[in-house]
């Protein structure tokens, strides 16, 4: 179980992580095959397991650049079922839009996973359990988490490659804000902001660390992300079983320095590897897909010279 098996371990004790970068020209590519092949290559075993896919569904988005593309979500579901997963459920708790059905209908999730009944869980409304946080980066100490998340054998974080106007970039770690139930904390989950976004990211991921991450970097968002930025084609899916290493790799792809992003730097000490030396790259090299993302002026310091 993702929650039960998760243990805090200093990153220097962790073996090097493997991250795969796969080229994808568009959402009509055979993404299921790409994900299936990569998960197998990286040794991500789903046979007989219950898998929770946690995409980043934020709000109805006519431009199609805010949310994880549903084609990637559908492909991941298909790939894990082919690999023998017992069940694959999509779960999300949007941060400031209460009408989750409105979001998943706008993006036509049904077209990619079929009828939603039994396959999609609104994590904002699920039953919850009070859970002690495994780190104390923030003052939160404990949070309610959805039982669907706590009970999943494997949690897969599936963010979109985006800049973020408060923390620089939002990827698989920040995406886990979406497991915090709005029914307990509101829309937005403002208690997390008051406890410190970076600190809360660390505390949430130390408690429910994703077992795998798949970043939708086919079309990302630059500038005033995570909602009002502009589309940026990058043409890649980034995957791995160390969410910190995956995020650090994504940030490098964006032309930014992961060590300068506060929550990533913190996560690099206990949750996974930020250092490039500790990340074994599979698939494409970073340089071949590097795409400089524009950031707001206050984040110019994140740019790699």
């Amino acid at each position: 179980m993702s929650y039960a098996n998760n243990q805090i371990m200093p990153s220097f004790q962790r073996p090097p992580s493997r991250v795969a970068i796969r080229r994808a020209a568009g959402y009509s590519d055979d993404l299921a095959a790409l994900i299936q092949e990569t998960a197998s290559e990286l040794g991500f075993h789903v046979q007989g397991k219950s898998v929770l896919l946690k995409p980043n569904f934020v709000e109805p988005d006519p431009r199609g650049i805010v949310n994880t593309n549903p084609a990637v979500v559908g492909a991941a579901r298909e790939a894990f079922l082919r690999l023998g997963a017992r069940s694959v459920v999509v779960g999300e708790g949007p941060g400031h839009e209460r009408d989750t059905e409105g979001i998943v209908e706008t993006i036509r999730l049904r077209d990619h996973i079929g009828k939603l009944a039994g396959k999609f869980v609104d994590l904002n409304l699920d039953d919850v359990a009070l859970t002690s946080l495994r780190t104390r980066a923030s003052r939160l100490k404990e949070l309610y988490f959805p039982r669907t998340v706590l009970g999943a054998d494997l949690v897969v974080s599936m963010p979109k490659l985006k800049t973020h106007h408060w923390v620089g970039a939002t990827l698989s770690l920040k995406n886990m804000f979406g497991i915090v139930p709005g029914s307990c904390y509101g829309w937005p989950k403002n208690a997390l902001h008051w406890a410190g976004i970076s600190q809360s990211v660390l505390d949430i991921n130390s408690t429910v660390r994703p077992d795998f991450a798949i970043v939708d970097g086919i079309v990302g968002m630059e500038g005033n992300g995570p909602i009002q930025g502009t589309a940026k084609f990058c043409g890649a899916l980034v995957m791995g079983d160390d969410p910190v290493a995956v995020d650090a790799t994504c940030v490098r792809i964006m032309g930014l320095a992961p060590e300068r992003i506060d929550y990533l730097a913190k996560a690099g000490s206990v949750l996974g590897h930020v250092s490039e030396r500790q990340v074994l790259q599979a698939g494409e090299p970073i340089g071949s897909v590097r795409t400089s993302f524009e950031v707001l002026p206050q984040f110019d310091r994140l740019k790699v010279a």
């Binding site: 059905e101 409105g102 699920d126 029914s183 937005p188 403002n190 208690a191 005033n224 707001l296």
Partner: protein, 325 residues
């Protein structure tokens, strides 16, 4: 399973509004838990918000007396000693759901101790932002000026220790508007003035609301249906104000693009309350309902039922404001 709205609805491309109304009503009656409360989704734990919405939606419906009686008892049992309601029975801290629980009880029972205690808690609960020290500290922070808002205008937060947001403020104002002013606790008038001013302050440029960030880094926030409808309902006394009219115009504009049945129902409740009923509402709700059966969402079913029975409603959203008992 029989109580699944999705199973019932999924077999049809479309449903008539009357069918949706019947399905929602039956769904609410079937999903009531043994403890008298309602869950967000069938067979889950009872929670205060869905219990409140189910009670509000079933008010004045025939043959619902027993369900309402049990629901009221469940809400009463969930109230904390300080007068607030937590999100779910057994949780330790009161929250935004206090306004909805108080409203549901008031509509069923009128003036009573639980409502008075709930109101007192709400009027004593201040959001974390906006105090003098907070303003000084915020003024000094480099990120303080990225949002455009007057933080001295304090509404209500979702949870204690957090900032004011549009929806919890609107819920509280709806309650204060509904309960006669002679039953209000001390300080309620000031809280209401501040809350109303806060809502207008947080309106997006051009009308409409999002959760509470009208402008960040100089860019206008994206307007959303839910917060816009709730804010307009809470500010209905000022229907003639330009801000209200602009926001209604936007809601009417966006109406055709609404893809979630709960948002559609809420938008319709709001537009109906302002005398701008949408003739295509019933025709649109059926297909949206049929798509996913509301994802079996109890508050969505309750809002749909309210929207489909505007004239059966106990003036929840239509009452003349600030009447005395």
């Amino acid at each position: 399973m029989l109580e699944s709205l999705a199973v019932e609805a999924g077999s049809s491309e479309s449903l008539l509004a009357a069918e949706v109304k019947g399905l929602c009503r039956q769904f609410l009656l079937r999903t009531q838990n043994d403890d008298g409360g309602w869950p967000y989704l069938p067979a889950l734990q009872s929670a205060v918000e869905p219990t409140s919405w189910a009670l509000i939606a079933l008010t004045n419906h025939p043959d619902t007396f027993e369900a309402a009686h049990r629901g009221l008892a469940a809400l009463g049992a969930a109230q904390l000693p300080d007068g607030s309601w937590p999100p779910r029975p057994g949780h330790r801290l009161g929250c935004w759901a206090t306004a909805l629980a108080s409203l549901a009880i008031f509509l069923q029972e009128g003036d009573c101790e639980p409502v008075r205690k709930g109101l007192s808690w709400l009027c004593d609960s201040w959001p974390a932002e906006g105090g003098a020290w907070w303003r000084v500290r915020n003024w000094l922070r480099p990120t303080a000026k990225v949002t455009r808002q007057d933080s001295s205008l304090r509404g209500w937060s979702w949870t204690p220790g957090a900032a004011s947001w549009v929806e919890p403020t609107a819920y509280c104002l709806l309650l204060l508007n509904m309960v006669p002013s002679n039953l209000h606790p001390a300080g309620a008038a000031r809280r209401r003035r501040l809350g109303e001013a806060m809502l207008y302050d947080r309106m997006c440029p051009g009308g409409g609301w999002n959760s509470g960030n009208p402008q960040v880094y100089g860019v206008a926030g994206e307007r959303r249906v839910g917060p816009t409808a709730w804010a307009l309902l809470a500010l209905k006394e000022y229907a003639a104000r330009t801000e209200n009219q602009r926001s209604l115009d936007w809601l009417e504009e966006i109406y055709a693009k609404i893809s979630g049945p709960a948002s559609l129902a809420l938008a319709n409740i709001c537009l109906e309350a302002y005398g701008r009923p949408q003739p295509e509402f019933e025709a649109r709700l059926g297909p949206l309902y049929a798509a996913n059966g509301l994802l079996q969402n109890v508050p969505a079913a309750a809002l749909s039922l309210i929207a489909l029975t505007p004239h059966d409603q106990p003036s929840t959203f239509h009452s003349p404001r600030r009447s005395s008992a």
